[in-house]
């Protein structure tokens, strides 16, 4: 499942190219976070098994660490997935549209999705601040509970921005684009991999 399929040439021009470089940097950071989170999850879980079987004890923060990592992976990953045009969607209807109509539809979809994500980001700031007020601690590590969800508003916002960029790419460039990097070419079937 190659992501290079239909990759659009980098947008040129001042603001866009600065944005592009910023986003490239962010993408590198996000991909590193994703990879290492998955690796640490595996090491953490296996280490817990070894501790239990070999040393009759267990790593008490093991579950908590895994929960933290899975929240991190989810909310970091959705923005990288948006950047790569990898979110699962049902395209049967839009596939039947002509190029002009499908372009307009894609602008509506990306802008609508961005608006929803910004709204959710706003809600999640409310959630995080209510957790900060409550002083809740996690049961095993006894760290403030809000630490584990700080990534949520960040991830939702960055993902929203990705969809705005996708909308802008559709408006200013020819063709239909799933994201500002990925054009909707043969079909968007690449996005249905699990």
């Amino acid at each position: 499942m190659s992501d290079s399929n239909g990759e659009a040439p980098a947008p040129k021009g001042g603001v866009l190219s600065v944005l592009k470089r910023l986003d490239d940097g962010l993408s590198v950071v996000e991909r590193q976070l994703l990879g290492w989170s998955i690796v640490i999850m595996a090491v953490n879980t296996v280490a817990n098994v070894i501790m239990r079987l070999g040393f009759s004890s267990s790593i008490f923060f093991s579950e908590e660490l895994n929960q933290f990592l899975i929240i991190l992976v989810t909310f970091v990953g959705i923005s990288e997935a948006a950047r790569m045009g990898r979110h699962i969607r049902m395209s049967a209807f839009t596939d039947m549209l002509g190029p002009q109509a499908s372009k307009i539809m894609m602008i509506i979809i990306t802008l609508g999705t961005a608006a929803l994500l910004f709204l959710l980001a706003w809600y999640s700031i409310g959630y995080v601040s209510s957790l900060i007020q409550s002083n809740r601690l996690t049961p095993a590590l006894r760290i403030p509970y809000y630490f584990t969800v700080l990534i949520v508003p960040f991830g939702l916002t960055v993902t929203g921005i990705q969809f705005v960029l996708a909308a802008a790419t559709n408006i200013f460039r020819p063709g239909t684009h799933l994201s500002y990097r990925v054009e909707d070419t043969f079909s968007d079937a690449d996005d249905h991999h699990l």
């Binding site: 579950e63 209510s130 095993a140």
Partner: protein, 313 residues
């Protein structure tokens, strides 16, 4: 007017008995002006979620038990200290339903989190189900004991001599079956409904703890009620104090009968005073380490409760 009451157990379990009777009494006493909708476990998320829903005012009443409530109101963890409660259940009932330490002291800690502590009641003794006979701390050697991931519980079972193991709730049955773990602890009605007795050989009553749960209400909601409604709720609470005390004893006794019938070879062991004293002594330091860990007014609460329960060291 609709009040929502969310609890942490399945239909027919002790918390559900309480919630259903609460519903019946409230609806009767308000002539149907108030209807109570009861949500059982899983419908609105986890235990933590329903407490958050209560603080947010989305539900008006909910059960919250020390296991997870400790992350909201840390002082409540004193109820996890082994041998804090009396071995005499009449004393426990009296203290849990009217203790000034709970309803005046601890209650403030709840209010600071936007919760009104409505009531507290025991759901029955926490019973060990084990694959190995254990009557003294030394026999816990090498026993992998599943506890919830709460430092106080972990320390308690370490002090008893066991190897505490964390395992998600859903994996406890198969964990016992396949010896990933050798023991777990729960009230007897729960052991029966989760069928843990099928995969263990001993039911051990060590008297270390009662499963105590609280019913909390949204503080702003409660304060905003008319005096008439508040009086009604107080009346309901005192009627339910007696109701739930009997209901939980009956539920646990019936559950034990069903277990014995389903598995006659299971050995039920009630530790005698001397044996209990050994576990009590082994875990004597847990109260102090909790005080050190949580701070605040934990020390005073613990001291006052020990006095009320008559379990001073």
């Amino acid at each position: 007017e609709e009040w929502k009451f969310a609890h942490e157990e399945s239909p027919g379990d002790v918390q559900d008995l309480y919630a259903q009777e609460f519903k019946r009494l409230v609806e009767e006493k308000t002539n149907g002006d108030v209807t109570v909708t009861v949500y059982t476990y899983g419908q609105l998320g986890t235990e933590n979620d329903i407490t958050e829903l209560t603080t947010a005012g989305a539900v008006q009443f909910s059960n919250a038990s020390p296991g997870h409530l400790g992350t909201f109101v840390p002082e409540i963890q004193v109820f996890g200290v082994p041998y804090l409660l009396s071995q005499d259940n009449e004393v426990n009932k009296e203290v849990l339903s009217s203790s000034p330490t709970i309803y005046e002291g601890l209650s403030k800690d709840f209010e600071s989190k936007g919760l009104k502590l409505y009531t507290m009641y025991p759901e029955g003794e926490m019973v060990w189900t084990t694959k190995k006979k254990v009557t003294q701390p030394s026999e816990f050697d090498g026993v992998k004991f599943r506890v919830m991931t709460s430092p106080i519980l972990i320390e308690s079972y370490e002090s008893f001599g066991a190897d505490p193991v964390a395992l998600p709730w859903g994996e406890v049955y198969s964990g016992l079956q396949t010896s990933v773990i050798d023991a777990q602890v729960n009230p007897i009605f729960f052991i029966e409904s989760a069928k843990f007795y099928e995969v263990t050989d001993y039911l051990i009553y060590a008297g270390q703890q009662q499963y105590t749960t609280t019913v909390v209400s949204n503080a702003a909601f409660y304060e905003g009620l008319s005096d008439e409604r508040k009086d009604m709720l107080k009346e309901v609470k005192s009627e339910l104090d007696d109701f739930i005390y009997e209901a939980q004893q009956k539920a646990n006794a019936e559950a034990l009968d069903r277990i014995k019938k389903a598995k006659p070879e299971i050995e039920v062991i009630r530790l005698n005073d001397e044996q209990r004293a050994a576990f009590k002594e082994a875990s004597a330091g847990i109260g102090d380490s909790l005080v050190k860990e949580v701070g605040g007014d934990t020390e005073e609460v613990l001291k006052a409760l020990r006095k009320e329960f008559g379990t001073e060291m």
